[in-house]
Point group: C2
Chain length 323, copies 2
């Protein structure tokens, strides 16, 4: 930390481990309080799946669309003003069309598919999309290898995360989450380098199980974080005992983690230095500190870009105080 | 002909050999003067090509869209009111986007691609599309095998017909047309049966070289037509010494056929019985009759659905007079 030469400090990246909507909103705040070109998002690809013949990468695309200022704000995913001619037409022709991919969104996934067929890597393609759409921070997939996250339900059914999440509506009865594919994947080009060079590593307020979990499961990534001299600060995705959005409760319970800011802090404790959580959970501070973590208690509800920027600023301050 | 039992006459089909725009307009006329459920279009698939990762079948789709009343009238192809988000987005991302496929049009081609991957045949898929879109006549691909029509230019370049036609703008310098793929293809399910049962076989006013040529090149189709007792009547695609639309001149010259109603009549003479052509070419009638063909001289410019219906009526009358 303190051994890094100060004069090159500005170009050392802020690395953000990132899932989908929550991470995207946090990153939009982060680029308002740090130079956007210094930010590198390492994004979960455990949600990636083929739909309608194209490679859909939900988390990469949400992050890209949000940082490019083109996300559909009301849906929280997809592109503002996008249409749904493709899925509606496929629906009429008898295809399962529960995954509501917009037309331009589809075209981006088609670009990804065509480029993959032509031999390009997922990282290179993610960079093409973010440049064309106009997002400044670097956006890296955690891996270029297929890393499908599988969910096992207590009734014995096993399914891809998107099937669990969207088709099934995230039912409660999760037995376990299988990150086996990520556990044998290789980090994408640039991932380990970014972590090694980081001046701070931020864990976005994303699902610990199916967003942050897969990133850490990729061999080499957790090791690189442990080796990095940069402070590692996580933002709790749990506020007042419930996730801000998404199926974190079901999934945390599924892996035996208490659904609270404290539960997630315990889950992350082995590899983080600091923890940012909401004032609604202030009574947990002493227990979280007792884990050996530095803390910041703040308003962590990102109800606006300003609120997200304040949360990001608190997170960066905590990181800097540890650097 | 006269040996066919009269009592089953109504259910014996009118088979139409069909290319794209010209055929589609003619067929729209035909279904106004004959029971639509009696019409079977056997459609050229030599123009089929993969674009943007999907199987595009231009002639099948033009015919389907036109008979379903959904064609973009001003373009002559594609769907009325369709948008172009997919190709425009791909264009921005650096893909060649000279083939202007609309979004819903794309979705139909995506359906075709997904169904082909799932093991369905092109004929079955064409039927799914025409039923969903609401076209009554049966629409059969000439073959389910890949039959790309290749064009050789005098400068030595060889290209797929769509590249010649759309990307290159149909240049004059055609050395020859290669129907080699069609020459080793199998007729699609239903094609030979429809011809064998036909009460009339109509050759739509389509390009003789690249629309009708590929259909006849598929082994078994010309033989089935020759064996059929039904009268075979062709409609000239040449009016006043020029094609109504498309690159027929370049291509006819490329295979050594005179660009005139007479030239096409000579080209078709070995296998047709009757020939319908435009009043602007009335002075050619004695020469066409001298080929041994029955003739009808009429207004063959399909400037409206009514005009197309009149042309179709004249064509059916000629066929019936020969039956």
């Amino acid at each position: 930390m303190t051994t890094a030469p100060r004069e090159t400090g500005r170009s050392r990246p802020i690395v953000a481990l990132s899932g989908g909507v929550g991470a995207a909103r946090f990153l939009r705040g982060l680029v308002r309080v740090a130079p956007p070109e210094d930010v590198v998002a390492i994004v979960n690809t455990g949600d990636d799946r083929e739909f309608y013949g194209v490679h859909v990468a939900p988390d990469l695309d949400i992050v890209t669309y949000t940082l490019a200022g083109q996300v559909n704000e009301s849906l929280g995913y997809g592109l503002e003003g996008d249409r749904f001619e493709i899925v509606d037409t496929l629906d009429k022709l008898g295809h399962p069309a529960w995954f509501r991919l917009g037309d331009r969104d589809f075209a981006h996934c088609l670009h990804r598919t065509l480029r993959l067929k032509a031999g390009a890597g997922l990282a290179e393609i993610a960079d093409e999309l973010r440049r064309t759409l106009g997002a400044v921070p670097r956006i890296l997939p955690m891996s270029e290898d297929p890393c499908p996250t599988l969910v096992d339900l207590v009734d014995g059914r096993r399914m891809h995360f998107e099937d669990y999440m969207i088709r099934e509506g995230a039912p409660d009865a999760v037995a376990s989450v299988d990150l086996g594919a990520a556990q044998v994947a290789r980090p994408a080009p640039g991932v380990l380098e970014a972590i090694a060079q980081a001046r701070a590593i931020v864990v976005c307020p994303s699902n610990p199980v199916v967003s942050i979990g897969p990133i850490l499961a990729v061999p080499g990534i957790a090791e690189a974080i442990a080796k990095s001299p940069a402070p590692v600060v996580a933002v709790s995705p749990i506020v007042g005992g419930a996730p801000v959005k998404g199926p974190a409760s079901q999934l945390l319970r599924g892996i035996g983690v208490e659904v609270s800011a404290l539960g997630v802090a315990r889950h992350y404790q082995p590899w983080i230095d600091g923890y940012v959580f909401d004032q609604r959970d202030a009574e947990l501070e002493s227990e979280i500190k007792a884990l050996g973590l530095e803390t910041r208690v703040t308003d962590s509800m990102m109800v606006s870009p300003d609120a997200a920027a304040r949360l990001a600023a608190a997170t960066l301050e905590l990181a800097e105080s540890e650097a």
